[in-house]
């Protein structure tokens, strides 16, 4: 064999090795130290909460000898940036991320999450069973759920009183209240759907009250098609009818989540349809009394939609898995859980003694609801997007935006939801 031939073969082998090497997972994580972990969370809605968290984590660092580098990303960038970071091997060791197949499930499918099944057994973590299911993929528990939440309508009690409006007991009353507010120059419902996920939450609220918890379970589990008349009616009511009647801000698809909230805080809008995670922000930003009600059903006061929000996950490539697990264990300590509840108004997914907590009327109401939901004693609808796949969520979010912009009808979007559901579940 001539030198030239040998060189050519060596080059080919190197190229082939490099090509196949490209398919072999991701590089080690950022910190590179077994006693230091990077912890990424979404930017808290209330900026002061970040400093509180830093101080709380400093206590853990002192007692454990583990260094925790806390990083934040704007909430809307967390899904896109984190996934890319993890795939390129430069992601954090521990991070907060939404649960369910459409979010953490995508990371699980890509092999980006550390298996915590053994850690659960060794540390006897008391996460609610229903919550643990949301972070279990292919029989492996891959995260620690840490945010129980409900979805409903926050309303400005002062504006309601000023315009002689009481809590709506059904959809017709909500319609009447919204018409009254609009006539008075108040935006009835602060709703911005620029990011798209807000539409999914609103559909969850509407469906919860229209078809009940069992009806939603049937939808999510494929026993009832998404193209059914109830889904079409729910989409039609809020995304078409309410929008055309001017109950939502103009160009809702151009308004981001934060700006929609700002409309509510400033008193320009009387209601805000979103989740209980906003309580902390509301307490800080609203200088009026706020009530929290479920999205009304056609003939009833309705029920709250609810479920699990975010969870905490560990990168599959972390060089510090033991330190990460110790950190997760501390996050579930009773002391830290009380800190979460009292300081951040965040509700963990395991039993917490809140008997001595001075939470204020709004958060007390939310605590009672989530307590009922967690123990299985109340009737709650489901939050769709944490239970469905990414393909379905994309179809839902884009589809509902299209109804708001008038490009597609509720029936077309409902049909698209069913098609996406069938495609993503292979049914």
């Amino acid at each position: 064999m001539s030198k030239r031939t040998a060189l050519a073969i060596a080059t080919l082998v190197a190229a082939a090795s490099a090509l196949t090497g490209c398919t072999g997972g991701v590089a080690p994580s950022a910190s590179g130290d077994s006693n230091t972990i990077t912890y990424l969370i979404a930017q808290p809605d209330v900026p002061e909460n970040l400093e509180k968290m830093r101080q709380e984590i400093a206590g853990f660092e002192q007692s454990s000898g583990i260094t925790v580098q806390l990083d934040v990303l704007p909430r809307e960038q967390l899904h896109t940036v984190l996934q890319t970071q993890l795939r390129s091997g430069s992601g954090p060791d521990v991070f907060s991320y939404d649960t369910g197949p459409g979010f953490a499930g995508v990371l699980a499918d890509a092999g980006l999450l550390h298996d915590l099944t053994d850690a659960y057994a060794q540390n006897d973590w008391q996460i609610y069973d229903w919550a643990r299911e949301r972070v279990t993929f292919d029989g492996k528990v891959l995260g620690v759920p840490d945010q129980v939440e409900t979805l409903g309508i926050f309303y400005n009690k002062e504006l309601f009183a000023q315009h002689g409006i009481t809590e709506p007991a059904n959809l017709a009353e909500l319609d009447a209240a919204a018409a009254k507010l609009k006539a008075a120059g108040v935006i009835p419902i602060a709703f911005g759907d620029q990011e798209g996920w807000q539409g999914g939450h609103l559909l969850s609220m509407g469906l919860a009250s229209r078809i009940g918890s069992q009806g939603m379970t049937d939808l999510v589990e494929g026993r009832v098609p998404w193209s059914s008349p109830e889904v079409v009616a729910t989409i039609s009511t809020f995304f078409d009818e309410f929008n055309r009647k001017g109950y939502l801000p103009e160009s809702a698809t151009a308004i981001g989540y934060d700006n929609a909230n700002a409309l509510f805080y400033s008193g320009q809008a009387a209601m805000n349809a979103t989740g209980s995670w906003l309580v902390s922000d509301i307490i800080n930003a609203a200088d009026f009394e706020v009530g929290f009600i479920p999205f009304p059903g056609p003939d009833s006061r309705g029920i709250y939609a609810g479920g699990l929000g975010a969870g905490t996950f560990v990168s599959a490539t972390t060089p510090a898995p033991d330190a990460a697990v110790r950190f997760l264990d501390w996050l579930q300590s009773p002391e830290h859980a009380v800190f979460d509840v009292t300081e951040l108004q965040s509700i963990p997914a395991f039993p917490v003694d809140t008997s001595g907590v001075d939470a204020g009327p709004l958060f007390t109401q939310v605590l009672e609801q989530t307590s009922k939901m967690s123990s299985g004693s109340g009737d709650f609808g489901l939050n769709i997007d944490v239970l469905t796949t990414n393909q379905f969520n994309e179809a839902m979010e884009g589809g509902l935006q299209s109804v708001l912009t008038g490009d597609r009808s509720p029936q077309e979007v409902a049909d698209a939801l069913q098609a996406a559901f069938e495609q993503s579940t292979g049914s």
Partner: protein, 311 residues
């Protein structure tokens, strides 16, 4: 050994040494070309022929299935339509505005340096920052765009620019044109320094007006620069991603989706790295004919001796 033979031997040795030196000199560039261009390209082609999901150790080979899927995927055609609009307007607008501004500045305005800085500044801003800032400008609640319209009595035109199907793509495109025009201005200004002023003066004396001087005297002297800028802008139109991703994420619905955002969505949101890579390659394949054609035009013009010199 005769003198002639000795000379030939020395010449041959010199040629060999020159050859070796040539290889040595070219080797670093070749290595960089191989590592940063050929290898990624080969990887992309490889993955485009697979159904890899981004995590499995092996990438199942599917041949041309991704290409067949692309051809029948309505979302691809929709995104391609948006790309074509972007290419047409996103290329023509910065070129025309940039050329006019450059000629105006070049023709004797005071404070050329200040103008250069002002126009070039947006090009130095990262697309993420541009996207965020223009997102604020377009915000229907607090944005300047609507407030400005209301202030000048055009309040009925106020709308959610990024939230309506009919305006979203154009609103993003306007932000991109704003950021890119400064680059075109600076490049054209550099080229205009090489324009023969005697020819311009002669044309003026012969009675040519400003437009005629621009079209018949100035433009022919900067054609190579014009083509270079056109090529860069045009390719940018096919590969546009960041500013669309930041400002609208492809929405509302999929109104502003371009091939870049659709490729990202497939590769990262749906874990369809193979299909996403095939879409990314489609962007390259679509750009290539334009680049080759413009390159040929530029070479032909150079042979004819046209142009005051590329920057």
């Amino acid at each position: 050994m005769s003198t002639a033979t000795a000379t030939r031997s020395v010449l041959a040795q010199t040629r060999r040494e020159q050859g070796r030196l040539g290889v040595l000199l070219v080797a670093p560039a070749l290595a960089l070309f191989g590592v940063f261009f050929l290898f990624p390209l080969a990887s992309a082609v490889f993955f485009a022929l697979t159904s890899w999901n981004g995590s499995t150790p092996t990438a199942p080979f599917v041949g041309l299935a991704n290409v067949r899927e692309m051809l029948g995927d309505p979302a691809v055609w929709h995104a391609l339509g948006n790309n074509l609009q972007w290419v047409l307007v996103g290329t023509a607008a910065p070129l025309l505005i940039g050329l006019l501004l450059a000629v105006l500045i070049w023709s004797g305005v005071r404070g050329v340096l200040a103008y250069r800085l002002i126009f070039f500044l947006p090009f130095l801003m990262p697309p993420i920052a541009i996207g965020i800032v223009w997102g604020w400008i377009y915000d229907p609640v607090n944005g300047w765009a609507n407030r400005l319209l209301e202030a000048v009595g055009l309040g009925e035109l106020a709308r959610g620019w990024l939230g309506e199907t009919g305006t979203a793509l154009w609103a993003v495109l306007l932000a991109a044109v704003w950021s890119y025009t400064g680059f075109v201005v600076v490049i054209f200004l550099a080229a205009l320094q090489n324009v023969d002023l005697e020819l311009v003066d002669a044309a003026r004396i012969d009675g040519a007006n400003a437009v005629q001087r621009l079209w018949h005297v100035i433009l022919p002297q900067i054609v190579p620069t014009f083509i270079t800028v056109t090529t860069v802008t045009l390719v940018g139109g096919f590969s546009v991603f960041d500013i669309v991703f930041i400002m609208t994420g492809g929405g509302p619905g999929n109104a502003t989706a371009v091939l870049g955002t659709y490729a990202y969505e497939n590769a990262f949101n749906f874990s369809r790295v193979g299909y996403g890579t095939a879409l990314a390659l489609l962007i390259t394949v679509l750009s290539l004919p334009f680049v080759v054609a413009l390159n040929r035009v530029q070479r032909r013009l150079a042979l004819r001796g046209m142009g005051g010199g590329a920057p």
